[in-house]
Amino acid sequence: MSDIRCRELCKTFRQGEERITGLDRVSIDIDSGEFLCLSGPSGSGKTTLLNALGGLDRPDSGSITFGGRRIDCLPRGELADLRLREIGFVFQAYNLVPVLSARENIEFVMQVQGVPAAERHRRSLAILAEVGLEGLADRRPPAMSGGQQQRVAVARAIVSRPRLVLADEPTANLDSHSATRLMALFQTLNREHGVTFVMATHDPRVMAFAARRVSMEDGRIVADRVQEPCAPEPA
C-alpha cells in the first residue's frame, strides 16, 4: 500500500503573458519507507513537486493522497498541522530564523509541536551531535557557514521523527565528507525508523544513496528506476 499517491498533477505558473509549466500530468506512488531521489535539470519541476507533496502549494488539477487522505483540497489549517506533525522539510535555501541560535531554531518547532522543555533540550542537543554540529549549539545562523546552516535545517526537519522528509538540495552547500555523513544519517533514519525520504538533488552522491531514482524534465517524469543504494560507510 503506497503512502503517497499522486495522479495527473498539473501546475502552471503565470508570469505576465507567459505560462510556465511546473508540473505536467505527474503521477507517482511512493511507499512508506522509501528512499527516493528526484533528479533533473534546473527548472524541471522538482521543487514544485516537493511543494505539492508537502501541501505547501496546491496543484491546478490532479489528486494527492497522503496516508489514504486526500490532501490537495484540505483546508489551510489542517495542512499546516499535517506539516507540523508528519512532514519534515529541508528547503533549497537554509531558511533558519536568524535571531535564534542553532539549538533554539530546532527547539522552536518542537515547542510548537508541544514537546516539553526538558525533552526539547535533550533532543536538540542530540540531533545537533548527529549532524556533526555539537560545538555550535549556541551559535546563530549569521555566524555559521552555509553548510552548517544547512545541517541545522536538516536537524530541525528530522528531530521530531516525521513520517516523511521532503528535502530540496540537502547537500548543496556541503563538502563531500559532510554530505556523505548526512546521507548516512538519512539512511539510518530510513532503515531503523521507517522514515520516508523524498529528495530533490543534482548531487550524484545523494543519488547514489537512493534506492529509487526519479528523473524529471519539463515538469514530467521521464524515468523512474529502482537501483541498489550504496551502503553507509562505517563511521
Binding site: N51, G54, L56, D57, G77, A80, D81, L82, R83, L84, R85, I87, F89, F91, N95, V97, P98, V99, L100, E104, E107, F108, V109, Q111, V112, R156
Partner: protein, 408 residues
C-alpha cells in the same frame, strides 16, 4: 524566559535604531500626556479654588430659595448658634457667617447700587481670599461703621480710604435702613463683577442696620480640599434643625457654570490627546508593518514548517507588546520624574503671569501627581500601539508559504 518571548525580544532588536525611534516617540508622547494631564488636573484645582475663593466657598447653608432670588427675608435664623454647632462638628472646616443685602452706596460725588455683605471680620479670612486682596487701606476689624469696597466701586464712587460712604436700603422687616460708614480698605479681586459691586461691613453692625437680629443669609464653609466636599455636605445636612427650610448647597450648585466650563475644556483637551495617541499609533503601525514585510520570507518558512498564521500573528503581537511596554515603562518613569519636579517647583511660561493675574490665578501652576495623570495617557498609548499592530499581524493570515519563501 519562554522561547517565543525570547524570539520576540530579539526580533525587536534586529533594527536597533528603528526600535529606539519608535520607543522614543512613545516615551515622548507618554511624558507629554502625563505632563499635560497632570497640569490640566492641577489647573482645574486652581481654577476651581480661584473662582470659589473670593466669595462662594465650598459649601453654604442658606434658606431654601435664597440662592435664586436673594431676598433679604429668606434668612437663616439663630445663625450664631448654628455656626457654633457646625464648627464643633466639623473641626477641619472654617465657618463664616454672612448677611447680604442690596443697597445704594453714595459718596459725595456719586451713587451706585451694591451688594452689601455683613461678615465676621475675624472669621472671613478663613473662608474667603478677599481679605487678602487689599489694594489700599486695611481690612475690617469688627468695629462697626467701617466699610471695605471693590476697586472699581471705589473708583466709581471716587472714594478713598478715610472718606464717608452713605448706605441706603431696606431692612428685613421692611423698614428703611440707612447708615454712614467710613471707607477703610479697597480690595482688588481681579473679578470685575466683584470689584464693581461688592462691599463688606461688620456682621453685627449689618444685622442692626438691616434689622436682622440674629439672622444671617449664609453660613459659608471652607474645607481643606475639594475632595472633602461631599462628605462634609452630608454631615452638615444632618446638623440642620428639622423643618427649618434650610439647605446645604455645594460649590457646584452655588456656581453652576464652573463645572460646565471645565467639562468643555476637557473635551478640547481630550481631542488633542487623541491626536497625539493617533500619531504614535501610526508610528507603531509603520514600524511593525515594515518589520513584518521584511520578514516575509522568514514567515513563509515558518508557515511551511507548519506554524499556523495565528501563531505568527501572536509573535507580532508579542513584539508590539514588548515595544509598547518599553515605551510605557520609560514614559511613566520620565513622566513621574518630570511631574514630581514640577509639582515641587511649579511651572510657568512667558506671559502666563499676566493671564494668571487677569483670572485671579497663581502665577505658577503645579501639576497634580496622581495615578490618573500618570497612568491614563501611557495606558491608552499602549493599547493604541497594540491596536496599531493588528493590521500587520492580520496580514500574516493572507501569506502563502511558497510565495512568501520566494519573496526577497
Amino acid at each position: 524566559m519562554n522561547l517565543t518571548w525570547r524570539l520576540a525580544w530579539r526580533n525587536l532588536w534586529r533594527h536597533r535604531r528603528r526600535t529606539w525611534l519608535t520607543v522614543s516617540a512613545m516615551v515622548v508622547c507618554n511624558v507629554l500626556l502625563i505632563f499635560l494631564i497632570g497640569l490640566q488636573l492641577g489647573s482645574y484645582d486652581v481654577m476651581i479654588e480661584g473662582s470659589l475663593g473670593p466669595v462662594t466657598g465650598h459649601l453654604q447653608v442658606q434658606r431654601e430659595g435664597f440662592q435664586e432670588d436673594q431676598r433679604i427675608r429668606d434668612s437663616v435664623p439663630a445663625a450664631t448658634a448654628l455656626a457654633r454647632t457646625l464648627r464643633r462638628a466639623l473641626p477641619e472646616a472654617e465657618v463664616g457667617v454672612r448677611g447680604t443685602a442690596f443697597a445704594l452706596a453714595s459718596s459725595e460725588a456719586r451713587s451706585f447700587g451694591i451688594q452689601l455683605q455683613g461678615v465676621e471680620a475675624a472669621r472671613e479670612p478663613g473662608v474667603s481670599t478677599l481679605p487678602g486682596m487689599l489694594a489700599e487701606g486695611r481690612y475690617l476689624r469688627g468695629e462697626g461703621e467701617e466699610i471695605v469696597v471693590g476697586r472699581l466701586l471705589a473708583r466709581n464712587l471716587q472714594a478713598r480710604p478715610g472718606d464717608e460712604v452713605v448706605l441706603l436700603g431696606s431692612g428685613r422687616d421692611g423698614s428703611m435702613a440707612a447708615a454712614v460708614a467710613r471707607l477703610v480698605g479697597v480690595v482688588d479681586s481681579g473679578v470685575a463683577e466683584l470689584d464693581r459691586a461688592l462691599a463688606q461691613v461688620d456682621l453685627a453692625w449689618f444685622q442692626s442696620v438691616f434689622a436682622m437680629g440674629d439672622h444671617a443669609h449664609a453660613l459659608v464653609l471652607r474645607l481643606p480640599h475639594l475632595e472633602a466636599v461631599p462628605a462634609a455636605k452630608a454631615r452638615v445636612q444632618t446638623l440642620l434643625p428639622p423643618d427649618s427650610e434650610l439647605v446645604v448647597l455645594d460649590w457646584d450648585q452655588l456656581q453652576p457654570g464652573l463645572r460646565q466650563a471645565i467639562r468643555t475644556d476637557m473635551v478640547s483637551a481630550w481631542f488633542l490627546y487623541g491626536v497625539l495617541v493617533l500619531l504614535v499609533a501610526f508610528s507603531v503601525l509603520n514600524t511593525q508593518l515594515m518589520s513584518v514585510l521584511e520578514r516575509t520570507r522568514e514567515f513563509g518558512v515558518m508557515l511551511a514548517l507548519g506554524l499556523g498564521p495565528g501563531r505568527l500573528a501572536r509573535l507580532v503581537a508579542m513584539e508590539t507588546a514588548l515595544l509598547g511596554g518599553l515605551g510605557l515603562v520609560l514614559g511613566i518613569l520620565f513622566g513621574t520624574v518630570l511631574t514630581l519636579a514640577l509639582a515641587r517647583w511649579g511651572f510657568t511660561y512667558p506671559g502666563m503671569e499676566e493671564v494668571a493675574q487677569q483670572f485671579n490665578l497663581p502665577a505658577r501652576l503645579y501639576p497634580r501627581p496622581g495615578a490618573a495623570a500618570l497612568l491614563v495617557g501611557p495606558g491608552v498609548v499602549f493599547v493604541g500601539a497594540l491596536l496599531a499592530a493588528l493590521y500587520p499581524a492580520l496580514r500574516l493570515y493572507r501569506l502563502q508559504p511558497v510565495a512568501a519563501m520566494r519573496a526577497v
